[in-house]
Structure formats: structure tokens, C-alpha cells
């Protein structure tokens, strides 16, 4: 017998009541985990267009499953507590309890796995964002191509909301043609020069879209001719910091999602602790009640004592 405690009738009743309360609290924790999973999944789905694969969705999926399973198991635990002090109703739970303990252990392992995964998948998330953003910037101009016509609005809103520009930084915009051919005057000398200046015949310029502009800049936003100091009065490209957002969108999104998952870490750990407490208390209650029922058959003492055990082997 491991961690033996003696229980009187009074203490058994107290334990059952306390455990009933704890298991209802654990049900609410399970609901909390489920809501956390739903929230994380919605946040990931909102930015689905700039992510290439959905591997990171494993984290919220597991959280949602564990939340639902935890609600169910802890509800069963509360029912067991309610029936535990009634000798006629308790035996039918006996068979179920072993399965319950196994399930509770599995849930705790899954929760630990979620915490580990949220760190381990950071690299995959970064890769997915890199490819997704690169495609987004490439298809920025394709507002007339079905399936890509909202790419421009998505990227613009993303850059404004997360205060970022480009994939790694704003120079990513210099490497793609982000102005559609529909709006280029091919008879103009400037346009013809730019198109002929590179192998692929793309209209490249040292300019960025308006969504890269930083509202906190003291100066009205300079979007075009960014590398040309003489194009603007009192402008030095090397030292200008506030004009555009300096952060890349990939870094901004990773920081955001890692922040979300890190802040859920303590909550998940506390839920693991609570679940283990409930499991341990239920084991004590089960052993105490079974012991009392075994003794009650041979002795009719008013105050029965029975040993409660904390281990799984008798």
C-alpha cells in the first residue's frame, strides 16, 4: 500500500463533497481549454491566406479535442462522487473507473504534448509564412485574376494591422512587379526603360505600397523613389527610420502567434495539475469506499474506519 491514509465516515463524506466540487471546477477548466483551442484556430484561420500549409493547426485541434474529452471525464467523476456514498449505486462505476484513470492520464500527456508542440512547430510555421507571404507579394497585382483578386486587400490589411512591410523587410517589394500592367502606360519612356532594365521584362521600382507607411512618421509618407535621395527634399535613405514600417510581416506574425501560444502555456499547465489532483482524490475515494463496503459486510460499527490507498497495485 502506497501513501496510505485512514478515512472515517466523516472524512469520506468530506472527500466526496470536495471532490464533487473539484470535478465541476475541472469541467469548467475543460471548457476553458476548448474555448482556447477555438480562439487559436480562428486566429490561424483568419490569416490562412498567407500560410502555405496547415501543420500548425495541430495545436488548436488537439486543444479542442482535449477540452471536450476533459469535460466528459470530469463530468463522469462528479457523477461517481455523487454515487460514492450510496452503497447500492457505487458498484456499477467500479468497472468504469480503471478506464477513467487511463483516460485522465492520456489527457494529461496530450496537454504536455501540446505545450511541447507549440514550441517545436515554430520552425514549420516560419517556413509556411515565408512561402505564403512570398506568394502574396507576388500576386499582389493580380486583382483581376479569379482566386487571387483579394490578395491585394489581404496583404494591405495585414501590413496595416501588424505594422509590417514585406516578407523580411520592405526591400521585398523592390523585387516584384506590384503594379498591374493594366495601369501602366506602355507608351511612356519611363515605363519602357524600367521594363527593359531586367531580364523578365517586369516593371520594377524602388517603391512600396501605401500600406507600408508608418502613421507615426512626422513626415507625410514617401512611397516612391525610396533609394533616390535627390527625389525628395531633406531625405536620406540610409538614416530614414520612421517613414515605413521597419519590421517584416513574417517576423510580426511569428511574434504574434508565439505570444498567443506562450500566454496559454501557464493556463494549460494549471489544468494539468488540476486534472492530476482530481485523479488522485478519486483514487483515494474509490479505495476508501470499497474498503468501507468490504468492512460493512462483516462489522456493524457505528464509526467505521477504512484504509485509503494512493497506489494502483493492491
Amino acid at each position: 500500500m502506497l501513501l496510505k491514509i485512514n478515512f472515517t465516515q466523516q472524512r469520506r463524506v468530506r472527500l466526496a463533497q470536495g471532490l464533487w466540487l473539484m470535478s465541476w471546477l475541472a469541467v469548467m477548466c475543460g471548457a476553458f481549454i476548448f474555448c482556447l483551442g477555438v480562439y487559436l484556430k480562428t486566429e490561424l484561420l483568419r490569416r490562412n491566406e498567407v500560410m502555405e500549409n496547415t501543420e500548425i493547426h495541430m495545436v488548436p485541434n488537439i486543444l479542442m479535442m482535449v477540452g471536450l474529452a476533459s469535460i466528459g471525464t470530469n463530468w463522469v467523476a462528479s457523477r461517481v462522487c455523487q454515487d460514492s456514498l450510496d452503497a447500492t449505486r457505487f458498484p456499477r462505476w467500479k468497472v468504469l473507473l480503471l478506464a477513467w484513470f487511463a483516460l485522465a492520464a492520456l489527457l494529461c500527456c496530450l496537454l504536455i504534448a501540446v505545450v511541447v508542440l507549440s514550441y517545436a512547430l515554430q520552425g514549420r510555421l516560419e517556413e509556411s509564412l515565408k512561402v505564403g507571404l512570398r506568394n502574396g507579394i507576388r500576386f499582389y497585382k493580380d486583382t483581376d485574376v479569379p482566386g487571387r483578386c483579394f490578395q491585394k486587400e489581404t496583404i494591405d490589411r495585414l501590413q496595416m494591422e501588424f505594422r509590417c512591410c514585406g516578407n523580411s523587410n520592405f526591400r521585398d517589394w523592390f523585387e516584384v512587379q506590384w503594379v498591374s500592367n493594366r495601369y501602366l502606360d506602355f507608351t511612356s519612356k519611363d515605363v519602357k526603360d524600367r521594363i527593359r532594365s531586367n531580364v523578365d521584362g517586369r516593371y520594377l521600382l524602388d517603391g512600396v505600397p501605401f500600406s507600408c507607411c508608418n502613421p507615426a512618421s512626422p513626415r507625410p509618407c514617401l512611397q516612391y523613389h525610396l533609394t533616390d535621395n535627390s527625389a525628395h527634399y531633406n531625405y536620406d535613405f540610409q538614416s530614414e527610420e520612421l517613414n515605413l514600417h521597419s519590421r517584416g510581416c513574417r517576423q510580426a506574425l511569428i511574434d504574434y502567434y508565439m505570444g498567443l501560444m506562450n500566454s496559454t502555456g501557464p493556463g494549460v499547465l494549471s489544468v494539468i495539475l488540476r486534472q492530476m489532483t482530481v485523479a488522485a482524490s478519486l483514487r483515494y475515494l474509490q479505495a476508501a469506499v470499497e474498503g468501507a463496503m468490504a468492512l460493512g459486510g462483516t462489522q456493524r460499527a457505528r464509526r467505521e474506519t477504512s484504509p485509503g490507498e494512493g497506489s494502483r497495485n493492491h
Partner: protein, 343 residues
Amino acid sequence: MPFMPVKFNLQKRVKLAQGLWMLYWLSVIVGILIFSLGIFFKIELRKRSEMMDNNESHLVPNLLILVGVLACGVNAFGGKVCHDSLDPIKFAKWKPMLKPYLLLCCGFNVLLLLTALLCFLMQFAMYLTLAEGLKNGIKFYKDTDTPGRCFMKRTLDMTQIEFRCCGNNNFRDWFEVQWISNRYLDMSNDEVKDRVLSNVEGKYLMDSVPFSCCNPGSPRPCLQHHLTNNSAHYDYDHRTEELNIWTRGCREALFSYYSSMMNSIGALVIATIFLESVDMAGLKYLSTALEMMSDPENPECESEGWLLEKGVKETFTELLAKLKMLGKTNQVEEGGEAATAAT
């Protein structure tokens, strides 16, 4: 003849007390809700106070906070009275306080009505404040080096981005002010000199808007400058172009945001008035039913409860007579002597 009498036996009295207790606690929750809405409204006004020239009126949110706290207190007291009402010993100590409490509830209802009215009427003042504040905001957009105004640019840009609007009435408001600071203008440039000389006040005016007016939903990269010049851009007609920049003015956008907030808060306050009236009626029935028990020792006896002891007209005339008596305090002794002489 009592007004709206209802017969009560023990069962009905108990049910009334329980129902009324729950209703009072519901009213406490509604009071907490009004309090938090008042705080939310205050925070929203503070967030955008720069757009309103820092002189927006905080009367409505302050009143909401006060009313919320009062509602919690008044209704919690009512709930306590209901809780004790079926125990004659405990109820006896609350009995003398009931009449002033009901008068207090009446006054509180009047205060709620006033708050609801203000919620609807202060919208006019808000509209005027917004118009004035935005006009100044656009004027001071360029003053990012003037202490006290250096964040106006950022605030206005963020407002235009968030509320999807441009300018005060529409984007043409930007054509009438100089929104580029002189620090960034090359005064030796001919074009700059032309523009500055083209108007009486020597302002650098252009037909351009800041980047925050741009609409991300436009299929075309945003055109900010030379907006009225069709030849400045390829395939551009400024009369038919709709998606390039936001067409709505910020005054309208901000006003519709605040007015919908104030309208819903006003509707909630009106609902609270109804709830409070129901509470008051219930408490009056309960107290009169308990007082009018024919046999106080026997809790099972029947009793009658009412809203007013006499009919509406008679109660009104009595009230008026009482007010007149209060007005004639100087002549009370004479009137008293005359009354005793008559009897």
C-alpha cells in the same frame, strides 16, 4: 376603494416574495451592466478626445456610472427586504423604511428617465464637437514639431485607417489646407514657389490626400497625388473613380459609431426604467399584503394587497392637498385653531 387589489394566500405571498427577490437581483446585474457601459463609453470618448478638440462633454458617461452604482445599492436593499419579508420579526424592522424607500425608487426612476433623454439629446452636441475637432485636426496635421500637437498626425491617420474615412465632410477637405510641413518643402523649387504664390495666405495647397485615405480594397495601387488631374495617371478618370480612396467623411463615420453606442445605451436605460417600475409594484403588493393580514399570528390567513390605498384620482388630490398644506406653514396655527373651533 383600493387601486388594483389582489387577494393573497400564504402560497401566493411566498411565490411573490421569491419572484421579487430574483427580480431585484436581476436588477442589480442590470445596474452593474449600466455601470460598465458608462465606463466603456468614457474610455471610448477619452481615446478619441483629440479628434474632438479635448472639449467633449463627459456628462453622459459620468451620469451612467452614478446611475449604475445607485441601481446596485437600491436594488440590493430591495432584495434584502424581500428576503426577510416572510419572517415577521425581521420584516418588522424594515417596515418603517418602506415608504421612504419607495419614494426613493420613484426619484431614481425620474433620474433614469433623465439619463435616457440625455443619451438621445447629447448626440447633437457630439456632432458639433466632432465637426469642430476634425476641422482643427486637419489643420494641425502638419504640426508634428509643435508641442501639444505632435501626435495629431498619427491620431488622424489611425482614425482614417480604422474608420475607413477621409477628411471632415469628404476628401476635398485635404485640398484646402497645407498638410505638408514647411520643413519638407524645398522652397527653392519652382513648382513649390508657384503653388505657394497661387493663394492669398501663401499655403502650399495641392490636390492630394495623405496615405491613410487609401482604400485597400481598390484593385489599383493607391493614387494619392494629382487627384483631379486625369492626365497625371494612366487610365484614370477622377469623376468615375470610386474605390481609390475612402469617400465617406470622418465626421459622419465617427458620429454614426458614437450615436449607435448612445442609442443602445439609451434603450437599455429605458428597459431598466420598466424593470424598476415592476420591482416597485411588486414590493408595494408584498408590503401591503403582509400588513393587511387579518390575523397576524396565523401565517396561513388570506390578505389583500394593492398598489394604491385609494383610487388614482383620490390619491392625486390628497397629494396636492398635502403639498398645499406644506406651502401654508405660516398659517398652520390659525388653520389649526379654526379646525378645533369648528369641531
